[in-house]
């Protein structure tokens, strides 16, 4: 079984994680631009970080047989530094149309401040102009209100809900997100966000339409195997295999693949130039046929699949 982790901050993760992710069946991931854990104070460091998402990190992932894609944008926290935000907004066009940039993101609200509002709207306009898909980060504090507000503003600026992924959902937000026609992504992140037993129940209740999962694994205590673990748990607890496949692979591909910058053939049948430059020496991506329709093979590396 193949997996995609459509929201993970690999710049903060080690090669041990890449090895384990590859062994667990993750074939592709999306790394959205985020903050570093402490604020950037000049646009130059932001620019260099964005370059690393399309450069070194993409190359690094490939050494483990994983295709790396990214979302580019000004995140909610750093929108509050307006001088910095102005400069970053101006340099985004240099990245947004590059190969493998699947969305503008992750953008949205953190404190729901005026500055965050201003730059969320500015980036929605950019996404609309460039016909891009948008990855929306919903706030961890006052989440239900912030999520509704994020959707209201997206609609106000003329984005089609099918082009917007609302991420970090929970039991309180999921219904409105689905009803209004947006994609609903769930972040399986121990303690502070969703636990995966709860995710199983969400899948049981709402099904698999427009629902998918990610780990948002970053520099905190988080699990880069959250997606395969949750898929396994779902199967163990009676969710149908075809729904699990959609929730852990196919829906994320459909949502972020709308602009053609992530395609299944990228890992199933890579171009010769990609084989040579990204995957030299890695047998995983030498046009090898994947096993279709099989549940994930038992792996000691997964360990316990449940986290709270």
């Amino acid at each position: 079984m193949r997996f995609i982790d459509p929201h993970i901050h690999m710049s903060a993760r080690t090669t041990d994680d890449y090895e384990q992710m590859a062994a667990a069946g993750i074939v592709a991931l999306i790394e959205p631009a985020f903050w570093l854990g402490q604020p950037r104070t000049n646009a130059g460091s932001y620019l260099d970080y964005l370059s690393s998402l399309v450069g070194w990190e993409r190359f690094r992932a490939a050494q483990f047989g994983i295709r790396h894609y990214c979302a580019i944008g000004l995140n909610a926290k750093e929108a509050n530094n307006e001088a910095l935000a102005e400069e970053v907004i101006a340099l985004l066009p240099r990245y947004l149309l590059k190969e493998g940039v699947v969305a503008l993101g992750e953008i949205g609200f953190d404190d729901q401040s005026a500055a965050e509002d201003k730059y969320y709207r500015a980036q929605l306009e950019m996404a609309k102009e460039l016909d891009m898909v948008v990855m929306v980060h919903t706030p961890h504090r006052d989440k239900k209100t912030g999520t509704s507000l994020s959707m209201d503003i997206a609609v106000e600026h003329g984005l089609a809900p099918s082009r917007v992924i609302i991420d970090h959902n929970n039991e309180e937000t999921v219904e409105e997100v689905l009803t209004r026609g947006f994609w609903a992504a769930f972040t399986l992140y121990p303690h502070t966000k969703m636990g995966n037993e709860r995710m199983v129940e969400i899948a049981r209740r709402y099904g698999s339409e427009r629902i998918f999962i990610d780990s948002s694994s970053d520099w905190g205590v988080s699990d880069p195997l959250a997606v395969p673990k949750t898929a396994r748990l779902m199967l163990d607890r009676g969710i149908k295999a075809e729904d699990v496949e959609k929730i852990s692979y196919r829906n994320a591909l459909a949502a972020y693949g709308q602009t053609g910058q992530i395609k299944e053939s990228d890992w199933l049948d890579p171009t010769p130039v990609d084989q040579r430059t990204l995957f030299e020496g890695n047998s995983v991506l030498r046009g090898q046929q994947p096993r279709v329709g099989e549940p994930p093979a038992p792996s000691e590396k997964l360990g316990s699949v449940v986290f709270k």
Binding site: W56, R58, F59, P93, Y95, L97, P272, T277
Partner: protein
């Protein structure tokens, strides 16, 4: 034909009509547009417009490339790389601007774009301008980017001072890249490089690790007494590829002592002299 015209001709053969229209419009627009942002946008779009298929090049195409720019080897270029370099070359009437734009593009480049920009080094006007950019490029950890500068690219052999050249060859050995595709490798052999490579071989032996047979290629022509002793040891005790490499290296040395050593392996000496044994058919990767 100019290199840019050749690139366009090769692309016409394999791009879809819409893609070709986009490319030709972009090239024309960039000739007159003063805005760097237009170039950056077009270069960004090249992968999705031109696709990533390898250029389908015939022997005649390779000869045309050689004729347009001596030493230029376009084999291994892909369509997106060709399109990107063609777009950059639409600025070639203003070398200062092209160089400035290239720096900005390298600063924000993705891993595939970087390889394209460095592949184009032999084609940019006023070559010495790009020396800092090229040596900076070699500092990369990304093997494909290093390879775009070091392999099938005449720029380093033509423009690099000795110290930069030596660091490139040594790093190629260090990261396990083949040496035989480095353009003009033999022409730039020098004593300092021989010394560095010999020291590296000793470091590897002390660690119980293998030494790439190709390493001796750059030692032979400048082999001093200590190096000749090393070559004698490899000739006598090495694996088959190592013995062949030692024989070729000794054959390249003008020192009569080298010829004397080689006489201990008459078959290899004869094969080297006859050209039956050469670095190309050794084709070693570390």
């Amino acid at each position: 034909m100019t290199p840019r015209e050749l690139l366009v001709r090769w692309l016409v053969r394999q791009l879809s009509p819409e893609a070709m229209t986009w490319l030709e419009k972009s090239l024309a627009q960039l000739r007159t547009s003063g805005k760097d942002a237009d170039l950056y946008m077009a270069v960004s779009l090249a992968a999705r417009k031109a696709g990533k298929a390898d250029l389908a090049l015939s022997e005649a195409d390779v000869r045309d490339a050689q004729a347009a720019r001596a030493g230029w080897d376009p084999r291994g270029w892909s369509a997106d790389q060709a399109a990107r370099v063609a777009l950059l070359l639409s600025l070639d009437n203003d070398p200062g601007r092209l160089s400035r734009c290239l720096d900005q593009l390298c600063i924000t480049a993705d891993v595939s774009e970087l390889a394209a920009f460095y592949r184009g080094l032999p084609l940019y006007p006023d070559p010495p301008r790009y020396l800092a950019r090229a040596t900076e490029g070699l500092r990369t950890n990304m093997k494909n980017v290093f390879e775009a500068i070091a392999h099938r690219n005449p720029y380093p052999s033509e423009q690099f001072p000795e110290a930069a050249w030596n660091q490139m060859v040594l790093k190629a050995v260090f990261i396990g890249l083949a040496l035989w595709p480095i353009a003009n490798l033999d022409r730039r052999a020098n004593a300092a490089l021989a010394r560095m490579l010999r020291d590296y071989a000793h470091e590897r032996w002390a660690a119980g690790r293998p030494v790439s047979p190709e390493l001796w290629r750059c030692v032979g022509p400048h082999a001093n007494e200590a190096m000749l002793q090393d070559l004698e040891k490899v000739l006598g005790q090495g694996t088959e590829p190592e013995r062949k490499a030692a024989a070729l290296a000794l054959h390249a040395s003008r020192d009569p002592a080298a010829a004397a050593l080689l006489r201990h392996s008459p078959d290899l000496a004869r094969a080297a002299a006859a050209g039956e044994l050469n670095w190309q058919n050794l084709a070693i990767t570390a």
